[in-house]
Symmetry: C2
Subunit: 124 residues, 2 copies
């Protein structure tokens, strides 16, 4: 966990691509429509901020977003920076592997500081 806000926290998913997971802080949210209004609003705003910051920093070919929770029934949103030469493109990361991993991005610290600054500025 590198960001811990009032209504959500953010972790890296360990992967060769930049892949964030936003978790609702409320443990009782199985679905989005179980969440309180403040949690919902912050999840949505944070999703857009994560997308914007991933785009600006990593220049991906596409952003992918998903919320499943079939094994872990607690609201969490995956936000992935996808590249045409990544392991699964154009398949989703849950689909069939297409090729070897691309080299993992090393520069997480600067990205994290930019994302945290944007989230703080938005009051999340």
């Amino acid at each position: 966990m590198f960001f811990n806000g009032k209504n959500l926290y953010i972790e890296w998913h360990e992967a060769a691509i930049p892949w964030l997971k936003l978790f609702a802080a409320e443990p009782s949210c199985k679905e989005l429509t179980d969440c309180r209004e403040n949690t919902l609003a912050d999840l949505w705003r944070a999703t857009l901020i994560c997308e914007r910051t991933l785009r600006d920093y990593y220049k991906p070919d596409k952003i992918n977003i998903a919320s499943f929770g079939n094994r872990l029934p607690r609201v969490h949103i995956h936000i992935m920076a996808r590249f045409t030469d990544d392991s699964h493109f154009p398949e989703p990361m849950w689909g069939e592997r297409q090729r070897a991993d691309r080299p993992a991005a090393e520069d997480r610290a600067i990205f994290e500081s930019k994302l945290i600054a944007a989230l703080n500025k938005a009051g999340i």
Copy 2:
């Protein structure tokens, strides 16, 4: 297309599970953060209304939501009603098939009328 709003339209994805696709009406939205504010707001509100209506009507075990667009780079959101005995559970629908399809729900017309009423009520 069974719903055509100001900023988005909704289609069924042909599948054994209830599976909706929300498309931004703006053709130039490759990513969420490319969309106008009104489009974004309606996409989010419509996603929650779709989730709520799917939950109320089909009583799924889990809702799955995803926005990829790797092949079709135009914002569209998949909203799926998942069941523990469906073809892929607990995998995402893009993962490995686990078993045969469950019988497809036949009663789309009533669901559609309920969803359209809820979207209209919200001014979407």
